[in-house]
Symmetry: C2
Protein backbone atom coordinates (compact mmCIF):
# COMPACT_ATOMS: atom_id res chain seq x y z
CA UNK A 1 0.00 0.00 0.00
CA UNK A 2 1.16 3.47 -0.73
CA UNK A 3 -0.21 6.89 0.15
CA UNK A 4 -1.09 8.59 -3.13
CA UNK A 5 -1.23 12.29 -3.91
CA UNK A 6 -0.14 14.57 -6.72
CA UNK A 7 2.38 16.27 -4.44
CA UNK A 8 5.36 14.67 -2.74
CA UNK A 9 7.98 16.45 -0.66
CA UNK A 10 11.13 15.28 1.08
CA UNK A 11 11.23 16.01 4.81
CA UNK A 12 14.22 14.23 6.36
CA UNK A 13 13.36 15.36 9.91
CA UNK A 14 9.87 13.91 9.88
CA UNK A 15 9.20 12.13 13.14
CA UNK A 16 6.46 9.83 14.36
CA UNK A 17 5.96 12.03 17.43
CA UNK A 18 5.64 15.33 15.54
CA UNK A 19 2.43 16.79 14.17
CA UNK A 20 3.67 19.70 12.05
CA UNK A 21 6.70 20.12 9.83
CA UNK A 22 8.45 23.00 8.10
CA UNK A 23 10.02 22.21 4.73
CA UNK A 24 13.49 23.34 3.65
CA UNK A 25 13.69 26.39 1.34
CA UNK A 26 14.50 24.07 -1.59
CA UNK A 27 11.55 21.74 -0.96
CA UNK A 28 9.25 24.68 -0.25
CA UNK A 29 10.14 26.28 -3.56
CA UNK A 30 9.73 22.99 -5.41
CA UNK A 31 6.31 22.34 -3.88
CA UNK A 32 4.82 25.81 -4.17
CA UNK A 33 6.87 27.50 -6.90
CA UNK A 34 7.38 24.65 -9.34
CA UNK A 35 4.48 22.29 -8.61
CA UNK A 36 2.03 25.07 -7.65
CA UNK A 37 0.59 23.45 -4.56
CA UNK A 38 -1.89 25.67 -2.73
CA UNK A 39 -2.89 26.03 0.88
CA UNK A 40 -5.18 23.16 1.86
CA UNK A 41 -3.71 20.71 -0.69
CA UNK A 42 -2.85 17.23 0.41
CA UNK A 43 0.87 16.48 0.23
CA UNK A 44 2.77 13.26 0.87
CA UNK A 45 5.89 13.84 2.95
CA UNK A 46 8.58 11.19 3.14
CA UNK A 47 11.72 11.11 5.26
CA UNK A 48 13.68 8.71 3.07
CA UNK A 49 13.81 6.01 5.74
CA UNK A 50 10.37 4.54 5.30
CA UNK A 51 8.16 7.06 7.11
CA UNK A 52 5.45 8.91 5.20
CA UNK A 53 2.87 11.47 6.24
CA UNK A 54 -0.28 12.36 4.45
CA UNK A 55 -0.28 16.06 5.35
CA UNK A 56 -2.20 19.27 4.73
CA UNK A 57 -0.36 22.27 3.34
CA UNK A 58 -1.10 24.91 5.96
CA UNK A 59 1.26 27.67 4.90
CA UNK A 60 2.12 27.75 1.18
CA UNK A 61 5.30 29.84 1.40
CA UNK A 62 7.96 29.56 -1.31
CA UNK A 63 10.70 29.61 1.29
CA UNK A 64 9.08 28.01 4.29
CA UNK A 65 6.11 25.69 3.80
CA UNK A 66 4.34 24.45 6.91
CA UNK A 67 2.37 21.20 6.84
CA UNK A 68 0.12 19.45 9.35
CA UNK A 69 0.03 15.67 9.75
CA UNK A 70 -3.23 13.94 8.89
CA UNK A 71 -1.98 10.37 8.81
CA UNK A 72 1.36 8.58 9.18
CA UNK A 73 2.49 5.41 7.48
CA UNK A 74 5.59 3.36 8.11
CA UNK A 75 6.96 0.99 5.48
CA UNK A 76 8.72 -2.23 6.38
CA UNK A 77 12.40 -2.17 5.58
CA UNK A 78 12.99 -3.80 2.16
CA UNK A 79 14.14 -7.40 2.43
CA UNK A 80 16.78 -6.77 -0.28
CA UNK A 81 19.89 -4.71 0.29
CA UNK A 82 21.62 -3.96 -3.02
CA UNK A 83 24.62 -1.66 -3.36
CA UNK A 84 25.50 -0.34 -6.81
CA UNK A 85 29.27 0.24 -6.98
CA UNK A 86 29.65 1.98 -10.30
CA UNK A 87 32.50 3.76 -12.04
CA UNK A 88 31.92 7.44 -12.71
CA UNK A 89 30.71 8.40 -16.16
CA UNK A 90 30.84 11.70 -17.94
CA UNK A 91 27.89 14.02 -18.22
CA UNK A 92 24.25 13.39 -17.49
CA UNK A 93 24.43 9.63 -17.92
CA UNK A 94 25.58 9.17 -14.35
CA UNK A 95 22.67 11.27 -13.07
CA UNK A 96 20.31 9.17 -15.11
CA UNK A 97 21.74 5.94 -13.66
CA UNK A 98 21.33 7.31 -10.12
CA UNK A 99 17.69 8.05 -10.82
CA UNK A 100 16.97 4.71 -12.42
CA UNK A 101 18.72 2.82 -9.63
CA UNK A 102 16.54 4.72 -7.14
CA UNK A 103 13.37 3.80 -9.04
CA UNK A 104 14.50 0.17 -8.83
CA UNK A 105 14.84 0.48 -5.06
CA UNK A 106 18.53 -0.06 -4.37
CA UNK A 107 19.88 0.61 -0.88
CA UNK A 108 23.22 2.30 -1.54
CA UNK A 109 25.31 3.84 -4.29
CA UNK A 110 29.09 3.72 -4.20
CA UNK A 111 30.65 5.85 -6.98
CA UNK A 112 34.03 4.46 -8.06
CA UNK A 113 37.08 5.80 -9.76
CA UNK A 114 39.11 3.23 -11.66
CA UNK A 115 42.20 3.15 -13.85
CA UNK A 116 40.18 3.81 -16.99
CA UNK A 117 37.69 6.25 -15.47
CA UNK A 118 37.79 9.37 -17.60
CA UNK A 119 36.04 11.58 -15.06
CA UNK A 120 37.98 13.58 -12.52
CA UNK A 121 36.08 14.88 -9.52
CA UNK A 122 37.24 18.40 -8.84
CA UNK A 123 34.63 19.42 -6.32
CA UNK A 124 33.43 16.25 -4.62
CA UNK A 125 31.17 18.02 -2.15
CA UNK A 126 29.18 19.92 -4.75
CA UNK A 127 29.00 16.82 -6.97
CA UNK A 128 27.60 14.73 -4.14
CA UNK A 129 25.06 17.44 -3.33
CA UNK A 130 23.91 17.43 -6.95
CA UNK A 131 23.70 13.63 -7.00
CA UNK A 132 21.76 13.65 -3.72
CA UNK A 133 19.16 15.88 -5.37
CA UNK A 134 18.78 13.36 -8.19
CA UNK A 135 18.12 10.61 -5.67
CA UNK A 136 15.51 12.67 -3.81
CA UNK A 137 13.84 13.64 -7.08
CA UNK A 138 13.69 10.00 -8.20
CA UNK A 139 12.17 8.98 -4.84
CA UNK A 140 9.48 11.60 -5.34
CA UNK A 141 8.65 10.55 -8.87
CA UNK A 142 8.69 6.82 -8.25
CA UNK A 143 7.04 6.84 -4.84
CA UNK A 144 10.03 5.06 -3.29
CA UNK A 145 9.99 5.82 0.46
CA UNK A 146 13.62 4.71 0.92
CA UNK A 147 16.30 7.18 -0.13
CA UNK A 148 19.45 5.33 -1.23
CA UNK A 149 22.56 6.09 0.78
CA UNK A 150 25.12 7.92 -1.34
CA UNK A 151 28.67 7.07 -0.31
CA UNK A 152 31.66 9.26 -1.11
CA UNK A 153 33.46 8.37 -4.36
CA UNK A 154 36.35 6.01 -3.77
CA UNK A 155 39.12 4.36 -5.74
CA UNK A 156 38.28 0.75 -6.48
CA UNK A 157 41.47 -0.66 -4.92
CA UNK A 158 41.03 1.51 -1.84
CA UNK A 159 37.42 0.37 -1.44
CA UNK A 160 38.34 -3.29 -1.71
CA UNK A 161 41.13 -2.82 0.81
CA UNK A 162 39.05 -0.92 3.35
CA UNK A 163 35.62 -2.54 3.10
CA UNK A 164 35.62 -6.32 2.86
CA UNK A 165 32.80 -7.23 0.48
CA UNK A 166 30.34 -9.93 1.38
CA UNK A 167 28.30 -11.18 -1.56
CA UNK A 168 29.37 -9.30 -4.69
CA UNK A 169 28.85 -9.57 -8.43
CA UNK A 170 30.78 -7.87 -11.21
CA UNK A 171 29.39 -7.41 -14.72
CA UNK A 172 31.98 -8.96 -16.98
CA UNK A 173 32.66 -9.47 -20.68
CA UNK A 174 35.30 -12.09 -19.95
CA UNK A 175 34.79 -15.66 -21.09
CA UNK A 176 34.89 -16.91 -17.50
CA UNK A 177 31.79 -14.87 -16.62
CA UNK A 178 28.97 -16.99 -15.19
CA UNK A 179 25.26 -17.08 -15.85
CA UNK A 180 22.97 -15.48 -13.27
CA UNK A 181 21.57 -18.87 -12.31
CA UNK A 182 25.07 -20.10 -11.37
CA UNK A 183 25.79 -17.32 -8.86
CA UNK A 184 25.69 -17.68 -5.11
CA UNK A 185 23.57 -14.80 -3.91
CA UNK A 186 22.26 -13.51 -0.61
CA UNK A 187 19.82 -10.73 0.27
CA UNK A 188 22.69 -8.21 0.56
CA UNK A 189 24.68 -7.92 -2.65
CA UNK A 190 27.12 -5.38 -4.09
CA UNK A 191 27.00 -5.04 -7.88
CA UNK A 192 30.14 -3.67 -9.59
CA UNK A 193 29.79 -1.93 -12.97
CA UNK A 194 32.92 -0.75 -14.78
CA UNK A 195 33.63 2.46 -16.71
CA UNK A 196 33.07 2.92 -20.45
CA UNK A 197 36.48 1.38 -21.10
CA UNK A 198 35.70 -1.43 -18.61
CA UNK A 199 37.76 -2.50 -15.62
CA UNK A 200 41.39 -3.33 -16.40
CA UNK A 201 42.47 -6.99 -16.26
CA UNK A 202 44.25 -6.14 -12.99
CA UNK A 203 41.11 -4.66 -11.53
CA UNK A 204 39.08 -7.71 -12.57
CA UNK A 205 41.59 -9.93 -10.87
CA UNK A 206 41.48 -7.84 -7.72
CA UNK A 207 37.67 -8.00 -7.72
CA UNK A 208 37.65 -11.77 -8.20
CA UNK A 209 40.28 -12.26 -5.50
CA UNK A 210 38.16 -10.12 -3.19
CA UNK A 211 35.26 -12.52 -3.73
CA UNK A 212 33.22 -10.87 -6.48
CA UNK A 213 31.52 -13.29 -8.87
CA UNK A 214 31.81 -12.36 -12.56
CA UNK A 215 28.46 -12.42 -14.35
CA UNK A 216 27.71 -12.18 -18.06
CA UNK A 217 25.06 -9.67 -19.11
CA UNK A 218 24.57 -11.40 -22.46
CA UNK A 219 26.51 -11.62 -25.70
CA UNK A 220 26.66 -7.89 -26.58
CA UNK A 221 28.62 -4.96 -25.21
CA UNK A 222 26.24 -2.88 -23.08
CA UNK A 223 26.75 0.79 -22.33
CA UNK A 224 27.05 1.56 -18.61
CA UNK A 225 23.47 2.76 -18.18
CA UNK A 226 22.05 -0.32 -19.87
CA UNK A 227 24.40 -2.58 -17.91
CA UNK A 228 23.47 -0.96 -14.59
CA UNK A 229 19.68 -1.08 -15.04
CA UNK A 230 19.74 -4.52 -16.62
CA UNK A 231 21.98 -6.09 -13.99
CA UNK A 232 20.16 -4.44 -11.06
CA UNK A 233 16.83 -5.74 -12.38
CA UNK A 234 17.95 -9.32 -12.91
CA UNK A 235 19.83 -9.28 -9.59
CA UNK A 236 16.75 -8.06 -7.77
CA UNK A 237 14.60 -10.75 -9.38
CA UNK A 238 17.25 -13.39 -8.64
CA UNK A 239 17.20 -12.39 -4.97
CA UNK A 240 13.38 -12.66 -4.98
CA UNK A 241 13.76 -16.24 -6.06
CA UNK A 242 16.04 -17.13 -3.15
CA UNK A 243 12.93 -17.04 -0.95
CA UNK A 244 13.04 -16.17 2.72
CA UNK B 1 32.82 -15.72 -30.57
CA UNK B 2 32.75 -12.33 -32.19
CA UNK B 3 34.96 -10.67 -34.76
CA UNK B 4 36.56 -7.68 -33.06
CA UNK B 5 37.84 -4.47 -34.62
CA UNK B 6 37.71 -0.79 -33.85
CA UNK B 7 35.58 -0.16 -36.94
CA UNK B 8 32.12 -1.55 -37.65
CA UNK B 9 29.94 -0.73 -40.66
CA UNK B 10 26.45 -1.77 -41.66
CA UNK B 11 26.24 -3.42 -45.06
CA UNK B 12 22.75 -4.88 -45.54
CA UNK B 13 23.57 -6.38 -48.96
CA UNK B 14 26.49 -8.41 -47.72
CA UNK B 15 26.33 -11.91 -49.19
CA UNK B 16 28.19 -15.13 -48.49
CA UNK B 17 29.02 -15.45 -52.21
CA UNK B 18 30.44 -11.93 -52.63
CA UNK B 19 34.04 -10.91 -52.09
CA UNK B 20 33.88 -7.11 -52.24
CA UNK B 21 31.29 -4.61 -51.03
CA UNK B 22 30.59 -0.91 -51.57
CA UNK B 23 29.16 0.94 -48.56
CA UNK B 24 26.27 3.41 -48.76
CA UNK B 25 27.17 7.12 -48.75
CA UNK B 26 25.98 7.37 -45.12
CA UNK B 27 28.06 4.42 -43.91
CA UNK B 28 31.05 5.56 -45.99
CA UNK B 29 30.94 8.98 -44.39
CA UNK B 30 30.56 7.51 -40.92
CA UNK B 31 33.51 5.15 -41.40
CA UNK B 32 35.95 7.52 -43.07
CA UNK B 33 34.72 11.00 -42.10
CA UNK B 34 33.62 10.44 -38.51
CA UNK B 35 35.66 7.42 -37.40
CA UNK B 36 38.70 8.27 -39.57
CA UNK B 37 39.34 4.79 -40.92
CA UNK B 38 42.18 4.67 -43.45
CA UNK B 39 42.93 2.49 -46.44
CA UNK B 40 44.22 -0.87 -45.24
CA UNK B 41 42.34 -0.78 -41.93
CA UNK B 42 40.43 -3.80 -40.83
CA UNK B 43 36.67 -3.23 -40.63
CA UNK B 44 33.88 -5.51 -39.42
CA UNK B 45 30.90 -5.43 -41.75
CA UNK B 46 27.53 -6.79 -40.60
CA UNK B 47 24.35 -7.25 -42.55
CA UNK B 48 21.96 -7.18 -39.58
CA UNK B 49 20.84 -10.78 -40.11
CA UNK B 50 23.75 -12.58 -38.54
CA UNK B 51 26.41 -12.39 -41.26
CA UNK B 52 29.70 -10.61 -40.57
CA UNK B 53 32.80 -10.03 -42.64
CA UNK B 54 36.22 -9.17 -41.42
CA UNK B 55 37.20 -6.92 -44.32
CA UNK B 56 40.01 -4.69 -45.54
CA UNK B 57 39.23 -1.09 -46.41
CA UNK B 58 40.46 -0.88 -50.00
CA UNK B 59 39.08 2.49 -51.04
CA UNK B 60 38.59 5.02 -48.21
CA UNK B 61 36.16 7.35 -49.95
CA UNK B 62 33.78 9.49 -47.89
CA UNK B 63 30.96 8.76 -50.29
CA UNK B 64 31.76 5.29 -51.57
CA UNK B 65 33.98 3.02 -49.49
CA UNK B 66 35.04 -0.27 -51.05
CA UNK B 67 36.01 -3.23 -48.86
CA UNK B 68 37.43 -6.67 -49.57
CA UNK B 69 36.40 -9.78 -47.63
CA UNK B 70 39.10 -11.47 -45.58
CA UNK B 71 36.90 -13.76 -43.53
CA UNK B 72 33.17 -14.38 -43.09
CA UNK B 73 31.34 -15.45 -39.97
CA UNK B 74 27.72 -16.49 -39.57
CA UNK B 75 25.98 -16.30 -36.21
CA UNK B 76 23.31 -18.77 -35.21
CA UNK B 77 19.88 -17.22 -34.95
CA UNK B 78 19.18 -16.23 -31.33
CA UNK B 79 17.05 -18.76 -29.50
CA UNK B 80 14.96 -15.95 -27.97
CA UNK B 81 12.51 -13.87 -29.94
CA UNK B 82 11.37 -10.86 -27.94
CA UNK B 83 9.18 -8.09 -29.33
CA UNK B 84 9.02 -4.79 -27.46
CA UNK B 85 5.60 -3.20 -28.05
CA UNK B 86 6.03 0.21 -26.49
CA UNK B 87 3.97 3.38 -26.44
CA UNK B 88 5.63 6.37 -28.06
CA UNK B 89 7.38 8.83 -25.77
CA UNK B 90 8.36 12.42 -26.34
CA UNK B 91 11.86 13.52 -27.20
CA UNK B 92 15.07 11.58 -27.10
CA UNK B 93 13.90 9.07 -24.50
CA UNK B 94 12.33 6.90 -27.18
CA UNK B 95 15.57 6.90 -29.18
CA UNK B 96 17.42 5.89 -26.05
CA UNK B 97 15.02 2.99 -25.42
CA UNK B 98 15.46 1.78 -29.01
CA UNK B 99 19.22 1.75 -28.54
CA UNK B 100 19.12 0.00 -25.20
CA UNK B 101 16.66 -2.61 -26.47
CA UNK B 102 19.03 -3.28 -29.37
CA UNK B 103 21.97 -3.70 -27.00
CA UNK B 104 19.86 -6.24 -25.11
CA UNK B 105 19.28 -8.18 -28.32
CA UNK B 106 15.54 -7.97 -28.90
CA UNK B 107 14.11 -9.18 -32.21
CA UNK B 108 11.45 -6.60 -33.01
CA UNK B 109 10.16 -3.21 -31.95
CA UNK B 110 6.50 -2.30 -32.31
CA UNK B 111 5.87 1.39 -31.54
CA UNK B 112 2.34 1.93 -30.18
CA UNK B 113 -0.04 4.80 -29.93
CA UNK B 114 -2.52 4.59 -27.06
CA UNK B 115 -5.28 6.71 -25.59
CA UNK B 116 -2.88 8.50 -23.28
CA UNK B 117 0.03 8.73 -25.71
CA UNK B 118 1.02 12.37 -25.90
CA UNK B 119 3.08 12.04 -29.08
CA UNK B 120 1.54 12.56 -32.48
CA UNK B 121 3.43 11.21 -35.46
CA UNK B 122 3.24 13.75 -38.23
CA UNK B 123 5.79 12.29 -40.60
CA UNK B 124 5.90 8.57 -39.91
CA UNK B 125 8.31 7.78 -42.72
CA UNK B 126 11.00 10.22 -41.60
CA UNK B 127 10.51 9.17 -37.97
CA UNK B 128 10.99 5.51 -38.83
CA UNK B 129 14.10 6.35 -40.86
CA UNK B 130 15.54 8.19 -37.84
CA UNK B 131 14.69 5.31 -35.51
CA UNK B 132 16.23 2.82 -37.93
CA UNK B 133 19.50 4.77 -37.71
CA UNK B 134 19.42 4.47 -33.93
CA UNK B 135 19.05 0.71 -34.21
CA UNK B 136 21.95 0.42 -36.67
CA UNK B 137 24.12 2.63 -34.49
CA UNK B 138 23.34 0.53 -31.40
CA UNK B 139 24.19 -2.67 -33.32
CA UNK B 140 27.55 -1.16 -34.22
CA UNK B 141 28.38 -0.06 -30.69
CA UNK B 142 27.23 -3.23 -28.96
CA UNK B 143 28.49 -5.71 -31.54
CA UNK B 144 24.97 -7.14 -31.99
CA UNK B 145 24.91 -8.81 -35.42
CA UNK B 146 21.08 -8.92 -35.48
CA UNK B 147 19.31 -5.69 -36.38
CA UNK B 148 15.89 -5.55 -34.71
CA UNK B 149 12.93 -5.33 -37.07
CA UNK B 150 11.19 -1.98 -36.72
CA UNK B 151 7.46 -2.26 -37.36
CA UNK B 152 5.31 0.72 -38.34
CA UNK B 153 3.65 2.48 -35.40
CA UNK B 154 0.16 1.16 -34.73
CA UNK B 155 -2.75 1.89 -32.45
CA UNK B 156 -2.89 -0.62 -29.61
CA UNK B 157 -6.47 -1.73 -30.32
CA UNK B 158 -5.75 -2.07 -34.03
CA UNK B 159 -2.65 -4.16 -33.31
CA UNK B 160 -4.53 -6.49 -30.98
CA UNK B 161 -7.31 -6.89 -33.54
CA UNK B 162 -5.03 -7.55 -36.51
CA UNK B 163 -2.18 -9.57 -35.00
CA UNK B 164 -3.21 -12.27 -32.57
CA UNK B 165 -0.57 -12.30 -29.83
CA UNK B 166 0.94 -15.55 -28.69
CA UNK B 167 2.82 -15.29 -25.41
CA UNK B 168 2.63 -11.71 -24.15
CA UNK B 169 3.39 -9.82 -20.97
CA UNK B 170 2.29 -6.33 -19.97
CA UNK B 171 4.08 -4.28 -17.31
CA UNK B 172 1.38 -3.35 -14.83
CA UNK B 173 0.94 -1.33 -11.66
CA UNK B 174 -2.38 -3.00 -10.91
CA UNK B 175 -2.76 -5.13 -7.81
CA UNK B 176 -3.57 -8.19 -9.94
CA UNK B 177 -0.13 -8.07 -11.57
CA UNK B 178 1.85 -11.29 -11.16
CA UNK B 179 5.44 -12.01 -10.23
CA UNK B 180 7.83 -12.99 -13.01
CA UNK B 181 8.12 -16.49 -11.61
CA UNK B 182 4.35 -17.00 -11.95
CA UNK B 183 4.19 -16.22 -15.70
CA UNK B 184 3.82 -18.77 -18.45
CA UNK B 185 6.55 -17.90 -20.93
CA UNK B 186 7.84 -19.29 -24.20
CA UNK B 187 10.88 -18.41 -26.32
CA UNK B 188 8.84 -15.90 -28.33
CA UNK B 189 7.30 -13.20 -26.14
CA UNK B 190 5.81 -9.75 -26.76
CA UNK B 191 6.37 -7.25 -23.95
CA UNK B 192 3.93 -4.33 -23.71
CA UNK B 193 5.06 -1.11 -22.03
CA UNK B 194 2.56 1.75 -21.60
CA UNK B 195 2.98 5.50 -22.05
CA UNK B 196 4.00 7.95 -19.31
CA UNK B 197 0.36 8.12 -18.18
CA UNK B 198 0.09 4.29 -18.40
CA UNK B 199 -2.45 2.28 -20.36
CA UNK B 200 -6.09 3.15 -19.59
CA UNK B 201 -8.15 0.60 -17.62
CA UNK B 202 -9.93 -0.24 -20.90
CA UNK B 203 -6.63 -0.86 -22.64
CA UNK B 204 -5.46 -3.09 -19.78
CA UNK B 205 -8.64 -5.08 -20.05
CA UNK B 206 -8.25 -5.42 -23.80
CA UNK B 207 -4.64 -6.61 -23.33
CA UNK B 208 -5.63 -9.15 -20.68
CA UNK B 209 -8.55 -10.41 -22.80
CA UNK B 210 -6.14 -10.77 -25.70
CA UNK B 211 -4.01 -13.05 -23.56
CA UNK B 212 -1.33 -10.73 -22.16
CA UNK B 213 -0.16 -11.60 -18.64
CA UNK B 214 0.18 -8.60 -16.29
CA UNK B 215 3.54 -8.50 -14.52
CA UNK B 216 4.67 -6.30 -11.65
CA UNK B 217 8.01 -4.54 -12.05
CA UNK B 218 8.29 -3.96 -8.30
CA UNK B 219 6.72 -1.63 -5.75
CA UNK B 220 7.71 1.73 -7.33
CA UNK B 221 6.51 3.65 -10.35
CA UNK B 222 9.16 3.27 -13.07
CA UNK B 223 9.63 5.73 -15.91
CA UNK B 224 9.20 4.17 -19.37
CA UNK B 225 12.91 3.79 -20.08
CA UNK B 226 13.56 2.10 -16.76
CA UNK B 227 10.49 -0.12 -17.19
CA UNK B 228 11.52 -1.15 -20.72
CA UNK B 229 15.15 -2.02 -19.92
CA UNK B 230 14.29 -3.63 -16.60
CA UNK B 231 11.46 -5.78 -17.98
CA UNK B 232 13.39 -6.79 -21.11
CA UNK B 233 16.32 -7.90 -18.97
CA UNK B 234 14.30 -9.96 -16.51
CA UNK B 235 12.21 -11.40 -19.35
CA UNK B 236 15.32 -12.43 -21.23
CA UNK B 237 16.78 -14.08 -18.14
CA UNK B 238 13.45 -15.78 -17.39
CA UNK B 239 13.42 -17.24 -20.92
CA UNK B 240 17.00 -18.49 -20.37
CA UNK B 241 15.72 -20.44 -17.40
CA UNK B 242 13.03 -22.22 -19.42
CA UNK B 243 15.81 -24.31 -20.93
CA UNK B 244 15.62 -25.83 -24.41
Amino acid sequence: MELMSDFRSYAPDLGLEKSTITLSPFESHHLVGTNRAKQGNEVILFNGTGLEWKARLEKADKRRCVLIKKEAFHYNRPTKNITLAIALIKGKTFDSILRQATELGIARIQPLTTQWTQVQIKNAESKCKKWQMQLVEACKQSGNPWLPILSDPKKLDQLLEEDPIETAVVASLESKAKNWSDLKLSRAVTLFIGPEGDFTPDEYQLLIESGAQPVSLGPHVLRSETAAVSALSVLSESINQIGD
